[in-house]
């Protein structure tokens, strides 16, 4: 077992899916969907095996594979996972699998769609596993670029505009990122791109760290929906098709936060300490600001889009406490928010597929028209409000406790954000889900046994970690030993 290259195998799941998808003639849509669903299932199974096989007592990075890639430039294919990435790996696998299932009814250019989507997933896995900063950046771009065609071709609501905006914002982020990474490489001696070796080299002076840190933080932060560079995110969410929204908000935004954690904070701790108060203020602004903007939205997806800005603010606030508890909470929140938004978009997608309407004012009393489907939405909403019994409660609890200790004022403001979050969530629930029934949608079909599967999986995950948060916390915590 220990010799089995489990990480490469996980990476190969989406890669093989892309390969087979391209081979299968486009008219065999069922076959294409099945191949991708199987790849998703295989990824979930492998993520479970990795979870089980990871030795928490030892901690640190395990299951390492190391092969020279471009030796002349010191670039290597080095993959390994620690407690943090075990969790994020699971997140990506679950969202991939449930995302494919949520797109089961897709009819337009099925082959191309799944080719791009699995490419995206491939990139995300690569980012989570890579310890080589160059490979990290490479996979990062692989994950980001398919967003453009996925939104521009399969999207809705100003899709070209949104796709372009998203791509430009993220490219701008990369433009900051790449010089930052090259600076790390050069300053550490130009021998290795390995993140851990660079971090341990001690080659980065305090001034260097303070200068370079904002490049990396902001560069990654753009993808994490960092206030005030979040503008691409809600528009992108709205325009994207269901599974792309799921992956985008569920996983892709986490890449940004993960990059900050893995590269920026790891390599430049003094720079992080210098900038943390500033970025914590911005994160808190994001939490409150996102909630208030969400209050004014009328499109389901815009509400969720801005809620993501708010919830990712909690992740960034947790990271900026630079404490173990805050970081634990941030990683937990990445996971919980990923599953929660995937559930949100999956539920809204179900609604939109039938009604082609997303304006909350055009709905009412949905709970009596499609009780099971809507219950899923309610669960996601409760999770978003931080109600106990769901995973995000613990994540937010940890972040808030750490934040109140480090930055009392910001912590209290962030906790007050819970009220504003409840306000916009209840507004959606009260308008569209409850209230007088709009007879226009009486024909709405509730989920059947098949389409309930992906949503039920997501709900089960949220409840499981809501009741047994230690399953995840112990895993995340074991990473602290290695870092």
């Amino acid at each position: 077992m220990s010799d089995f290259p489990i990480l490469t195998a996980t990476l190969l799941c989406p890669a093989i899916a892309v390969f087979l998808t391209l081979l299968i003639p486009g008219r065999h849509e069922k076959a294409i969907k099945s191949v991708n669903a199987l790849a998703g299932l295989a990824a979930v199974v492998l993520a479970m095996i990795a979870w089980a096989a990871y030795d928490r007592a030892v901690g640190g990075f395990q299951m390492m594979e190391d092969v020279a890639w471009l030796p002349a430039l010191g670039i290597r294919y080095t993959v390994a996972i620690d407690g943090v990435t075990v969790v994020l790996n699971m997140l990506n696998a679950i969202v991939f699998f449930t995302g494919v299932l949520s797109m089961w009814k897709l009819e337009k250019r099925v082959k191309e769609y799944f080719a791009f989507m699995s490419t995206l997933v491939f990139g995300v896995f690569g980012v989570f596993f890579s310890l080589d900063a160059f490979a990290f950046f490479f996979f990062y771009e692989v994950a980001v670029l398919p967003m453009y065609p996925l939104i521009a071709v399969w999207g809705s609501t100003r899709k070209e505009y949104s796709a372009m905006k998203l791509t430009l914002f993220l490219m701008a982020g990369s433009a900051l990122l790449f010089p930052g990474l090259i600076a790390l490489f050069v300053a550490s001696g130009g021998e290795t791109w390995n993140i851990l070796e660079m971090a341990r080299s001690g080659a980065f002076s305090r001034d260097f760290q303070i200068f370079v840190y904002p490049f990396l933080y902001v560069g990654f932060g753009v993808l994490a929906g960092m206030f005030p560079f979040h503008g691409w995110s809600p528009t992108g969410h709205v325009a994207a098709p269901t599974a792309v929204s799921m992956l985008h908000a569920g996983v892709l935004m986490k890449l940004g936060a993960f990059g900050i954690l893995r590269i920026a904070i790891e390599c430049l701790p003094e720079g992080a300490a210098y900038w943390a108060p500033t970025f914590a203020v911005l994160a808190t602004c994001g939490i409150v600001y996102g909630a208030f903007v969400a209050m004014r939205q009328t499109d389901f997806k815009y509400v969720i889009g801005f809620s993501s800005v708010s919830h990712m603010g909690i992740v960034l606030l947790g990271l900026n406490t630079l404490t173990v508890a805050g970081t634990d909470g941030a990683v937990f929140q990445m996971f919980a928010h990923g599953i929660m938004t995937a559930l949100f978009f999956s539920a809204v997608g179900f609604l939109y597929d039938q009604t082609h309407d997303r304006d909350i004012r055009n709905f009412g009393g949905l709970v009596s028209q499609a009780p099971v489907a809507v219950s899923m939405f309610i669960v996601a909403g409760l999770c978003g409000m931080g109600v106990p019994g769901f995973a995000s409660f613990w994540a937010e609890l940890l972040v808030f406790v750490a934040a109140v200790r480090e930055y009392p004022l910001l912590g209290i403001l962030a906790i007050a954000g819970l009220v504003f979050t409840a306000a916009y969530m209840l507004r959606v629930l009260g308008t569209a889900i409850y209230g007088p029934v709009n007879p226009k949608w009486n024909h709405l079909k509730d989920v059947d046994a098949w389409s309930v599967t992906p949503r039920a999986i997501l709900v089960a995950v949220l409840v499981l970690f809501g009741f047994f948060p230690n399953l995840i916390l112990d895993m995340i915590r074991s990473a602290a030993g290695g870092m």
Binding site: F292, V293, M295, D328, A416, V419, A422, L473
Partner: protein, 632 residues
């Protein structure tokens, strides 16, 4: 039986009932209702056995849940006097209401779901009461709020019910922010989550705690903000009257032994902490006294029976907090217990009337012959008299203890205010009784409530059931609660013993005289104005129309909130959205457009004309030559 097993059974049963009722038997109402009733019975029996045969010393049933870093999080059930009394009261009242709901919700298409949410509520409340650590307290405090959201908004097609549910959730959540921060500070200061350890640190008979006094004040004040929200004290009380939009059994449940009682219970739970924070205790005393008076004035002009009871809940919660803030754990807790009985009783009676007559208006119900419903009317009179504090009913003894706790320097003003509130309580209680049982033609003289004070009532839920006005599922809980409302007042010594209070002051007749006097004065005034034959059936406030309108509009507090806070929130949201659209988005578009325009301008030079290119090359070469020449 083993107390550990009993404690576990009492909290696990409702959770099982909820899950089975909501998920498994979603489409089988009868099964769901049966399962929930059985789970309620298990809880009731377990908590009753614990009350009468529980462990003599405080005892925790618990297990390690998990650890975060080096902080161990346990899931535990703390069995001591406070939790054993409260647990039994909660389970008993819930059981009464579940039985009652069998009749009340008989024809409701969502009755299975209704029972499931009742079970969810019972689970949350019981686990909150028995909580052995701070985190558990907070979690189940929140879940109580969540369950009440579902119950208040149960008739989700009624916009007013949805609005009320939202309002209740949001207003209590404002308080929760305070509670949450307070609990974090409490944990940071004491280094423990364990409630027993915290109780030992703040033990009034032990050593003074090694925590800076102003920090204790801060913690107590923050916790009190949570209590203000949950127990509907001024200024966060406005959600409670609106919460009457829920089915009447929900009102009976939420406003007697549970939900609103959670706040008072929290103060009782951490009573030592509040005793060590004298400034906060003084603020609490002031807030509670003001609330008790404020809500009484609203109750004396309302015509909707449920509203009268809602305002009286706010007022009585104020009384409990007066007792606790004045330093008497026993007084506050005793009133919490007795109030649970007579308030649940009054709500069940209100529900029986409303169910039969299809209106909430007391005058209309009285004129339609409300007193012909014998059992309900007995319940009304006993419950109303207990609320008014007429001896020897339950409310009298506990209220007397609260008034007795107000002594010493500085307490006089509060005592006078509390007596005034007690007077108004007796007055509005008997106004309600007389309007319902002694209708006369003059009652038309009481002007109709203006539209803003009216409320839709429990209409539209199948109250077409005019067969038996008082089926046994109504009579049985009502009679049981009548017994409780009469008898609970005599249990003071036992309650005191369970709370660990050795000596309870039994007031002499002279000490009791003021309370009896104001209660009787209230009754007499109500009799003169509403009861005696030929009474005008118009309250003394009616002679002052401005004041009456002021009271009827609830001191304009809702309007003020609407104008100030809601508008402010909307304005901020608009501002943020405007910034988003016209600032960030427009800015990003401008950068993009600007880039495109620069590109277009430059592209204009690439027009394919050779003379342009040659000209360009000459200009550039010349400039370069000039520059290089300058350099050398």
């Amino acid at each position: 039986m083993n107390p550990d097993t009993l404690a576990l059974a009492s909290v696990v049963a409702p959770l099982v009932g909820f899950f089975l009722g909501l998920v498994v038997f979603r489409k089988h109402h009868a099964v769901a209702m049966g399962v929930v009733l059985m789970s309620g019975a298990v809880s009731l029996v377990s908590t009753a056995l614990l009350l009468f045969g529980g462990p003599a010393e405080p005892h925790v049933v618990g297990a390690r849940w998990f650890t975060i870093g080096d902080v161990a999080i346990d899931f535990g059930l703390l069995l001591d006097g406070r939790t054993r009394i409260m647990g039994a009261v909660v389970a008993l009242i819930t059981m009464c209401i579940q039985v009652y709901s069998l009749g009340y919700m008989k024809h409701d298409p969502g009755r299975g779901r209704f029972f499931a949410f009742l079970a969810l509520f019972e689970w949350a409340m019981l686990t909150f009461v028995f909580a052995a650590n701070l985190l558990q307290t907070f979690i189940f405090w929140e879940l109580v709020g969540l369950a009440s959201f579902f119950l208040i908004g149960f008739w989700y097609q009624k916009p007013s019910a949805v609005a009320a549910a939202k309002k209740a959730f949001l207003m209590t959540r404002i308080g929760d922010v305070g509670l949450f921060v307070g609990l974090i500070f409490l944990f940071q200061s004491t280094g423990t989550l364990d409630i027993q350890s915290i109780g030992a640190i703040f033990d009034p008979e032990g050593l003074p705690p090694a925590i800076a006094p102003d920090r204790i004040e801060w913690i107590a004040a923050l916790l009190f903000i949570g209590v203000i929200g949950k127990s509907a004290q001024f200024p966060l009380h406005t959600w409670l009257p609106d919460a009457m939009e829920g089915p009447t059994p929900v009102s009976a449940l939420l406003h007697s032994a549970t939900m609103v009682a959670a706040g008072v219970f929290l103060v009782a739970r951490f009573h030592g902490l509040f005793l060590d924070a004298p400034t906060t205790a003084q603020i609490m005393l002031a807030v509670a006294t003001f609330t008790a008076l404020l809500a009484s004035t609203m109750a004396m002009v309302a015509k909707d029976m449920k509203r009268v009871l809602a305002f009286s809940s706010i007022s009585q919660l104020g009384f409990m907090l007066i007792g606790l803030a004045a330093g008497s754990l026993f007084a506050g807790f005793f009133h919490l217990t007795t109030h649970a009985f007579f308030k649940a009783l009054l709500f069940l009676c209100a529900g029986a009337y409303i169910h039969h007559y299809g209106t909430n208006d007391m005058i209309a119900m009285g004129r339609a012959g409300a007193r012909s419903m014998r059992i309900t009317t007995i319940g009304l009179v006993v419950g109303g008299a207990a609320l008014a504090g007429i001896p020897p009913l339950a409310g009298f003894f506990s209220k007397e203890q609260i008034l007795g706790a107000l002594h010493g320097p500085g307490a006089t003003v509060f005592k006078v205010a509390a007596l005034a509130a007690a007077f108004l309580t007796a007055y509005y209680s008997f106004r309600m009784i007389f309007l319902l049982t002694r209708p006369n033609d003059a009652s038309a003289a009481e002007p109709d409530e203006p539209a803003y004070a009216q409320h839709a009532g429990d209409s539209g839920h199948g109250s077409d059931d005019h067969g038996d006005a008082e089926p046994w599922v109504f009579r049985f809980p009502i009679l049981l609660l009548v017994v409780g409302s009469v008898g609970a007042g005599f249990l003071g010594d036992r309650i005191g013993a369970l709370l660990g209070i050795e000596h309870i002051h039994h007031p002499t007749f002279v000490e009791m005289a003021p309370a009896i006097a104001v209660a009787l004065a209230g009754v007499v005034l109500a009799w003169l104005e509403f009861g005696r034959s030929g009474a005008r059936q118009a309250g003394f406030v009616s002679r002052m129309p401005a004041l009456r309108t002021f009271f009827e509009r609830r001191w304009y507090i809702d309007e003020i909130y609407e104008r100030v806070f809601v508008r402010a929130a909307v304005a901020i949201a608009k501002l943020c959205y405007g910034t988003e659209r016209d600032g960030f988005d427009a800015g990003a578009d401008m950068v993009a457009d600007g880039t495109a325009r620069v590109g277009a301008t430059v592209a204009r030079g690439h027009n394919g004309r050779l003379q342009w290119y040659v000209g360009g090359a000459i200009v550039v070469t010349a400039a370069l030559a000039f520059y290089l020449g300058r350099l050398s």
